[in-house]
């Protein structure tokens, strides 16, 4: 549903609103003849409704149109780039959640101690630092100064997993750090709230140590809001890949999008945007399902 509305809005914004897409794509130096030719090629002489339906039905059969700037089918172009962006986003999400939940748990288990203050201070700082600056600093430290990692570019998966992985580690970490700061703060406050519940007191009364109750009883219950946040964060992560791929010159979807914008490649833009929105919708659906695993009580009651 959301996806259908999104498709409509994207289409409307890009193709119906700002005058002639053909003229936009060709720029100011275009002659009326070339514009007319492109209009026919793009099928712009058909009414908007027909074009919209054409796009949507094309999507289901894998015919997304021909990129104007690259002169190749958009579907193939996108598929190539997904192989970079998807591993990047997944790696970043994994890093963010493991760092965030670990640090949050550490801070909560030593609440109001020096460790707690230090961790929370670092998290506050992590919130403030833009991820692309992290990226630049990493390049400066690990690539320019130490020479441990490549400063950018992507060797492709065909050259073996290790070099490709090496190219993705720094951008993924730069993407993950600000997100893990958010997750650490949330995990900590959620854990401390849970630790005040009755069943925690019961567990303590049974003779379990504070650490044992934290791990066995509190953590799982405290993770529900953390999961919600991870779903919300995915859209930040997607936006982050757009920027991060430009920092590290990775040939992914985000870089493709920025190049498409630079080249006024409307066909490519509309498909990419819809893909990003679609990914966000899917991730939110996955989060909804994950609630059920984290907290079985939520399985039936969620509408």
């Amino acid at each position: 549903m959301t996806l259908a509305v999104a498709a409509l809005v994207v289409f409307w914004i890009l193709e119906v609103l700002p005058g002639d897409p053909a003229a936009t794509m060709l720029g100011i130096s275009a002659t009326p003849e070339t514009i007319a030719a492109l209009r026919t090629e793009l099928g712009l002489d058909q009414p908007p409704v027909a074009r919209f339906l054409g796009w949507i039905t094309g999507m289901f059969s894998g015919q997304l149109g021909i990129s104007y700037a690259y002169r190749v089918p958009v579907g193939g172009l996108i598929a190539e780039r997904v192989a970079v962006t998807l591993p990047l986003a997944v790696l970043a999400l994994m890093l963010a959640s493991s760092i965030g939940i670990a640090l949050g748990t550490l801070a909560a288990s030593k609440a109001n101690s020096v460790i707690d203050s230090v961790v929370m201070g670092v998290a506050q700082l992590g919130l403030a630092i833009p991820n692309f600056w992290f990226g630049l600093l990493f390049v400066l430290l690990f690539s320019v100064t130490l020479g441990w990692f490549p400063s950018g570019g992507f060797p492709g998966w065909s050259g073996g997993i290790l070099p490709a992985f090496q190219a993705l580690v720094l951008p993924a970490l730069a993407l993950a750090l600000p997100q893990s700061a958010v997750l650490a703060r949330l995990t900590r406050s959620s854990l401390l709230e849970t630790m005040g519940e009755d069943y925690i007191r019961t567990a303590r009364a049974k003779g379990l140590t504070r650490g044992q109750t934290l791990r066995r009883h509190a953590l799982r219950n405290a993770l529900v809001p953390v999961l919600t946040m991870m779903g919300l964060q995915f859209s930040f992560l997607v936006a982050g890949t757009i920027i991060m791929e430009n920092v590290f010159a990775l040939p992914g979807l985000g870089r493709l999008l920025v190049q498409a914008i630079g080249g006024h490649d409307l066909i490519l833009i509309k498909n990419l945007v819809l893909l990003f929105v679609g990914a966000a919708v899917i991730v939110n659906a996955i989060v909804d399902i994950a609630y059920g695993y984290a907290d079985p009580r939520l399985r039936v009651s969620r509408p």
Partner: protein, 274 residues
């Protein structure tokens, strides 16, 4: 007030923000050098007595550019949050007042939809459509601020509306408008200001990101994000170029985040994170 003065994150946040605002104001009347002036002979110079933070690839003074950049960042935050705050609060309050009505439904659905769009993506779309530039970037950031404020306002208003003094006001013959303006607004304002502070920090981050991509603030106007983009080319030769603007962004965001956290604790101690 006394509580405010003893609250560490509020203190740090407030003083840092004050310094940044002060620098931005000073840049209106004075900067060490003309931020736009290029000096071919003193390109990529390290910091010295004349150029406190060095010069960039055109020989422009970094310190002056950072000062003007502060003005830019604050302006973006102010306008973008202003848009979100105004439209969001009004929509949220109206949706809450007419809870369950068609208006509430439509408003909340529409906002959910804006929410589902990754914010930077929305901004990129808008900038593609209307062309890159500061004004459009601010409008785009403002747009995705609206749902944030609307949700907060709706939730807070719903809570306030159940209180006895609202019923009393209605019995006394107050209309919807007067109830919202005179009784609801003062009660939710504190919460909204806290949110505004956080959103202000996010707006600065968003503008830096868009300008870094080259679709936000356009040259010759200095922007911290743009300066980072320029710096990337010269990372090996002049690493300091990439350090200072990033620090400026991080410090401003930190300042307004701390300010927001502090205000929240002071205004509503119950929300305090233990």
């Amino acid at each position: 007030m006394r509580r405010a003065l003893r609250h560490p994150s509020f203190l740090i946040g407030a003083s840092l923000s004050a310094v940044i605002v002060f620098i931005a104001l000073v840049s209106l009347v004075w900067t060490p050098h003309d931020p736009g002036q290029m000096r071919i002979l003193s390109r990529l110079k390290p910091p010295d007595a004349s150029f406190w933070l060095g010069t960039d690839q055109f020989g422009r003074d970094i310190a002056s550019m950072l000062m003007v950049g502060a003005r830019n960042a604050l302006l973006v935050g102010l306008v973008a949050v202003g848009i979100g705050f105004t439209f969001g609060s009004v929509l949220g309050m109206l949706a809450a007042r007419f809870e369950g009505s068609l208006l509430d439904d439509v408003v909340m659905r529409a906002l959910d939809f804006v929410f589902a769009f990754p914010a930077v993506l929305t901004a990129i779309l808008i900038l593609t459509l209307f062309g890159p530039g500061l004004v459009n970037a601010v409008l785009a950031i403002g747009l995705f601020n609206i749902p944030v404020f609307a949700r907060q306002a709706r939730g807070a208003t719903l809570q306030v509306m159940t209180r006895d003094f609202i019923r009393a006001a209605r019995l006394a013959g107050c209309g919807t408008a007067s109830i919202l303006v005179r009784h609801v607004v003062p009660n939710i304002l504190g919460l909204m200001i806290v949110q505004a502070s956080t959103q202000f920090a996010l707006a600065i981050l968003a503008e830096a990101g868009l300008s870094y991509l080259g679709i936000g603030t356009q040259p010759p106007n200095p922007s911290w994000g743009r300066m980072l983009n320029d710096a990337q080319t010269f990372l090996a030769r002049a690493p300091l170029l990439a350090i200072f603007p990033g620090m400026a962004i991080a410090l401003s965001v930190l300042a307004f985040n701390l300010l927001g956290d502090g205000l929240r604790d002071i205004i509503d101690p119950r929300l305090k994170e233990r």
